[in-house]
């Protein structure tokens, strides 16, 4: 595993964020190439991404400050700190999605083609996220005796970040090499179902799962629900596509 060691030393925190930024840039470039195939202009695609990122950044910081109001009232300038840890990730995600949704509505963008156009970006971001996990040593695996185990945090562990990387690479390949003549929404739903399926399977090898109901891994439950919704939606778009 010398390459993994080299990668981890090159992109150790906080440099691991460079990987995510590179994935964002690459993903957006690839999404632009395919946008017009889905009837979405490059400009609309770029705008929806930039506004969502802006919403993500501002929402994450403002919601964190609001939920820790007393700490910020003691030192209001902290609101402008460069510390990325002063951030509410869930709030950021919700705000980013909301801003993207509102922009899409105002520009009268059709939801399924827009999501299809954004799918290459999502798929490349998933690859970037797995590499960022690898660099930071987060999303780590459970201890194991398998020959391909990786030394991390003072134990030999399942290289879950590598599993995640391989799965996201395969999912990207599946999306990128798909046929054109499929109903709108298919690319996004295939991505959502495959990503949820991969998470459902791979979470079992993680050593940092959040548990609920006496040992059930919360991420698996969420992934199962997303998988079910994606399969249901995919059936629904196929039905709607059929002539009456």
């Amino acid at each position: 595993m010398p390459m993994i060691t080299l990668f981890r030393s090159l992109f150790a925190p906080p440099r691991h964020l460079i990987v995510l930024l590179a994935a964002l840039w690459l993903g957006l470039s690839l999404a632009e190439k395919r946008a017009e195939r889905h009837g979405i202009s490059k400009e609309a695609l770029n705008n929806i991404v930039y506004y969502s990122i802006l919403g993500y950044i501002l929402g994450g910081r403002v919601l964190f400050a609001l939920s820790n109001f007393s700490a910020f009232s003691e030192s209001p300038l902290s609101l402008f700190s460069v510390n990325i840890d002063l951030f509410d990730t869930t709030g950021a995600l919700v705000t980013g999605l909301l801003v993207g949704f509102v922009y899409g509505q105002r520009q009268k963008l059709s939801p399924w083609p827009t999501l299809d156009a954004l799918t290459p970006l999502f798929a490349v971001l998933a690859i970037g996220l797995s590499l960022s996990h690898l660099a930071a040593g987060t999303a780590f695996g459970a201890p194991t005796n398998v020959p391909w185990g990786m030394e991390l945090w003072n134990a030999t562990r399942h290289p879950t970040q590598v599993y995640e990387f391989i799965a996201s690479l395969l999912i990207f390949g599946l999306i990128w090499l798909r046929k054109n003549n499929v109903p709108a929404g298919t690319d996004f739903l295939v991505f959502a179902a495959a990503t949820a399926g991969a998470r459902l399977f791979l979470e079992a090898f993680r050593g940092d799962s959040t548990l609920t109901f006496g040992g059930v891994r919360t991420a698996q439950l969420i992934a199962w629900v997303i998988l079910a919704l994606a399969l249901f939606a995919s059936e629904s778009i196929r039905r709607d596509e059929k002539p009456a």
């Binding site: 030393s9 150790a12 925190p13 906080p14 400050a65 820790n68 700490a71 910020f72 003691e74 030192s75 300038l77 902290s78 609101l79 700190s81 510390n83 840890d85 002063l86 040593g137 987060t138 780590f140 459970a142 201890p143 945090w153 003072n154 134990a155 399926g197 459902l200 399977f201 979470e203 079992a204 050593g207 940092d208 799962s209 548990l211 006496g214 040992g215 059930v216 891994r217 698996q220 439950l221 199962w224 998988l227 079910a228 399969l231 059936e235 196929r238 039905r239």
Partner: protein
């Protein structure tokens, strides 16, 4: 593929998925974290024993029961310098509630003669430890300075902040969380 066939396949996928969730349940309470010492969130903070600038010796595990901020720094590091006043301020605010700071100077890559003037310049009142051999830095897999570890009363790392300077609000939110 016919819609009926597809629905059967989808149902099988979901049933298998659910079976996998049950099969991969972790009844042991999962996470190896909390038991194995490692410089990562959720793990037991690696123990160390170092001498202070005052000539005393401090062992991290002796502070079990207190909330601890372990801050790795050096005199030549600008963000380390920038965050020291905030750490000093917060230390004075919370020390009576069972909070302490262990500021470990990476002496093996610093000028030892510069440490005391630095402490005086910033009026630091918390313990300043000296890592003369680099062993503590190695145990904490030090990659960049400053690096900070928030440790709860059970000795578990609840948050790692690599880089700086840390904002006062960040210190305050994390310390209030580990003091609970």
């Amino acid at each position: 593929m016919q819609p009926t066939q597809r629905r059967i396949i989808y149902s099988i996928i979901l049933l298998l998925g659910f079976a996998w969730i049950l099969a991969s349940m972790d009844k042991s309470g999962s996470s190896t974290a909390g038991k194995i010492p490692a410089p990562q969130q959720g793990f037991l903070a690696p123990d160390f024993e170092l001498s202070t600038t005052a000539g005393d010796t401090i062992k991290l595990s002796d502070l079990r029961g207190q909330a601890v901020l372990v801050n790795l720094w050096a005199t030549w590091c600008p963000p380390c310098r920038a965050e020291m006043p905030a750490i000093e301020k917060i230390y004075n605010e919370y020390k009576d509630q069972g909070f302490t700071v262990l500021a470990v100077d990476m002496t093996y890559q610093d000028d030892p003669a510069a440490v005391l003037p630095f402490v005086e310049e910033y009026g630091l009142t918390f313990p300043i430890l000296l890592d003369k051999t680099g062993e503590m830095g190695k145990a904490y897999q030090l990659k960049s300075l400053p690096s900070s570890y928030f440790i709860d009363r059970e000795g578990i790392i609840t948050e790692v902040v690599i880089g700086g300077p840390m904002a006062e609000a960040l210190l305050r939110t994390r310390i209030e969380s580990i003091l609970k």
